[in-house]
């Protein structure tokens, strides 16, 4: 039995536009996705902002009811058996929210220990263990409002582990952390699977998914566009090359014309200080530099370079399709 299973999982939202003439609009955040995570696996859901990662996780942790399809955690249906699911899962999200700032780190953990039904006689020992694990020992009686972002994030991880859940959902747990803080959180995540936990991690950092995950599903615009081990995904785009052209003020039409060239796999525009960089992935053995420059007439062109594709290019190619 898979630890997490999603079949045809779908979620739409209704939004309204206008003030006097209100019009309802339906937005499809997740469009019928399917995947399975095996027990003890660290599975990554990788995608850009707005791809549907958080919506997917919120359906799996019972905070949102799917508008279609089914999802099961440890064989339990996330809609019909929500309370049983909640007893067995932990949820950690990134950022500074989700902490009672006026309480100490210790009181935060004590409160959630009660909410998650950790027996009274075990609470003290469990909280001490987790404070040690996440490196907050010695600072636990300070108010959380004085904690750094990294400390708050580690407090989140400790909270998610209070009731020793079998499955953990980590929603962008390193977002906004400095490199040292992010590395500490990643080390803690890596230790979770070593302890036998099943982890579903969402992130938009390719290198993070590569370093931590056994398998990755790339999600874009609510659909899964690729799934496999990090190695599988790298193989998929290890061919071809990337042309980078520095430009100052490129028109959207020019980008579309480049995209339409034969042999172009993906096009992205990155902002770098004053300039923009047009990143064009091309198929193997295709020389498109002149053709690309031909479409940039009128724009101020700077440095041009050609390089081998990286894993990040693979990700860009997948989500840009």
């Amino acid at each position: 039995m898979a630890a997490i299973e999603a079949e045809g999982l779908r979620r739409t939202y209704k939004t309204h536009t206008g003030t006097l003439r209100r019009r309802a609009k339906e937005i499809e955040a997740v469009r019928g996705i399917a995947f399975a995570v095996e027990p003890g696996e660290l599975f990554g859901l990788l995608g850009p902002n707005g791809a549907g990662k958080t919506t997917t996780i919120k359906m799996l942790i019972t905070l949102l009811i799917p508008t279609g399809g089914t999802a099961r955690v440890l064989g339990l249906d996330v809609v019909r058996e929500a309370r049983e699911v909640r007893k067995r899962i932990g949820y950690v999200f990134g950022g500074e929210r989700g902490v009672y700032e006026r309480l100490s780190g210790y009181d935060n953990l004590r409160y959630f220990a009660e909410l998650y039904g950790v027996p009274a006689r075990e609470q003290k020992r469990r909280i001490e263990e987790l404070l040690e694990l996440v490196g907050l020992k010695g600072r636990e009686h300070e108010r959380a409002e004085g904690y750094s972002r990294g400390m708050k994030q580690r407090l989140h991880v400790a909270r998610g582990l209070l009731h020793d859940p079998q499955v953990l959902f980590l929603d962008e747990p390193t977002i906004g952390l400095d490199p040292v803080g992010a590395r500490e959180v990643r080390a803690t995540i890596a230790s979770l699977t070593a302890a036998g936990k099943t982890v579903l991690l969402t992130t938009h950092y390719m290198f993070e998914a590569d370093a931590l995950c056994d398998r990755i599903a790339v999600i874009s615009k609510g659909s899964i566009v690729a799934e496999g081990t990090p190695l599988d995904l790298k193989r998929g785009v290890a061919q071809g090359s990337v042309v980078e052209v520095e430009v100052y003020g490129i028109a959207a039409e020019a980008v579309e014309r480049v995209r339409g060239l034969n042999g172009v796999v993906a096009v992205a525009v990155e902002e770098r200080e004053q300039a923009q960089v047009l990143v064009v992935q091309t198929e193997t053995e295709v020389e498109l530099t002149q053709a690309i420059l031909g479409h940039l007439k009128g724009a101020d062109v700077g440095r041009i370079s050609r390089r081998e594709p990286t894993l990040e290019d693979a990700y860009v190619a997948l989500v840009a399709e």
């Binding site: 919120k58 942790i61 009811i65 949820y91 929210r97 009672y100 009181d107 409160y111 039904g117």
Partner: protein
Amino acid sequence: MSSVRLVAVSWLLQFKMIMRSPFDGFGNVIYPLFFATVAFLVFRAGDSPRTLIYASFGAAVMGMWSSVSTSAGSAMQRERWWGTLELLVAAPRHFSLILLPSTLGLATVGIYNLAATLLWGRFLFGVHLTIAHPLLFALAIVGTVVSFGGLGFLFAVSFVRFRAAWVLGNFFEYPVWLICGFLVPIAFLPGWVHPISWALAPTWGMNAIRESALGGSPLPDLGACLGLGLGYVTLGVLVTDRVLRAARLRGTLSLT
């Protein structure tokens, strides 16, 4: 047993949070004194010592009610803003057991409001109060706090479902002062208002406090107050699952 412990620990931590906020604290300290000052100045003009005593208890309960009605709404909005509301809902315990201590914590602050108002009246306006039945008076206060907590809980349940419903907390603040006879006896109000007054626990809590202080018999009022409080809690518990399901369907638990 674990449910009792959950309510007790949650109440303690909620109370700790309320007391630690300098801005909330300032509001809680200053607001009731404004109510009291207005009430004392208005009723002093009437030149009747009994009326002034009537008003001083009314002003005290006004402060209690305000701290529950406005804070119950803003407390839920704050949980949403802090990103903790989703964590509370994602916990395996029944949500009503999590919510009730929160509103009870707010109602407890109301005890301070009551004490501060009475002391303000005593030292600034020279209103001498003698409490005829101190034990019953204490019981009436506790009963009123509990029933206010129950009503706040019922409000808070609906505030979970609707993101903007916290505004209603402010809306309910002033009408209850009037409808429940805090400053003016409900006998002065039109007949059609009376059933609304009777359905609201603050009416009976107010009566119980006045009766116990002035030497009447507060037990029937206290019974009605607690009975209604229990009714609000029962109704709140019964609708919690439905409200949460609606919030999960519409995705209103988070800010975005």
